[in-house]
Amino acid sequence: MEKSIETIWKEGFLKKDAVIIPKLNNLYSQKSKHIIDKIRRMLKINLVGIVVFSFMVLVASYVQGLFLSGVLIFILLNVIVFVNRNLLRSIKEIDKNLNSYEYLKSFDSWLKKQIAINEKLSAFVYPSLFISMILGFWFSERFQKGIAIILGNYNEIYFYKGYPIFWILLLVAITCLLAFFGGRIYKWDVNLIYGRVFRKLEEIITDIEELRK
């Protein structure tokens, strides 16, 4: 007589070898590999995105008559890409023969170093981007009329020896603020894009540390 599925199930699992428990080893090897690959992929995509964006800025600036801005921003963005591409290459120096924990820790250190370098770079990049935009407007023929109107309508007491001292001071203040907050803006930006995956990395490291206790 044909066995019912209930009987097959019961009898099958009565046999000793039916429930062989797998060993828990290399618990995190897959996870480590996955998270590191994901971060590397995201960083690469980000760099490609910056390059594409820099070309778009160049074209748009030419069309809008702000070519100087475009060129300066293009150079700045590609300096960022150059620095980060070299940083990304240094991942290869991490020894792949390390165990999951050591590999994750090495990668985490690399990531922190990369963020620290970019944080310092941002103190220079953000003000430079701002100055590039201002210079672009200042030297653009298309915007001369507008600038003349703004400065022309301005009260003379704000001029010193013919220089629009109020505007200059304002620009210097904004530039200083951007230099001061550049690192923080960068960190906020990084957290917005990579926050989730970075937290996941930290979570895995904490888990393994707990496991090792």
Binding site: I8, E11, D17, L24, L27, Q30, E210
Partner: protein, 159 residues
Amino acid sequence: MSSDFYKTSILPFAAIIIKICRAYTNNQEDFEDYYQEVCLQIWRSKDRFRQQSEWSTWIYRLSLNVCLTLLKKKKNNRQHFASDYIYAEIMEENAAFSDESLNQLYGAIRQLKEVDRAVILLYLEEKSYQEIADIIGTNPNNIGVRVKRIKERLKKIMS
């Protein structure tokens, strides 16, 4: 995960996890990955266990959720490689157990829809319709009819 926790809270219920993971994987490598992931999730989520249900029921629920999530991820990853996916589906490993009928039954279960696999596993584990509904998060009224239909389908596949 402390070995104490593993020994006292997971190991006695390993059979449950194994039965579920086998139903959602086609080969030994995937099975071991799923088993490890379920154990890991149990350990990580243990503080969220509210004792409103049995520990074993909670393990059923969590194991099923983990397996379904992993399966979904795997399918998404393979969307770009349709041929791989089809190949993996065909490559059903039917030699996980020494009992040939059990291998055949698992082979048939793996051909069911994901949720139907959960329903039949819980039914075979002698869970009541109410418990099955609680674990899966559905209406208990439909479970009976659904079990009947799944059993018919299994018989058809196995014959």
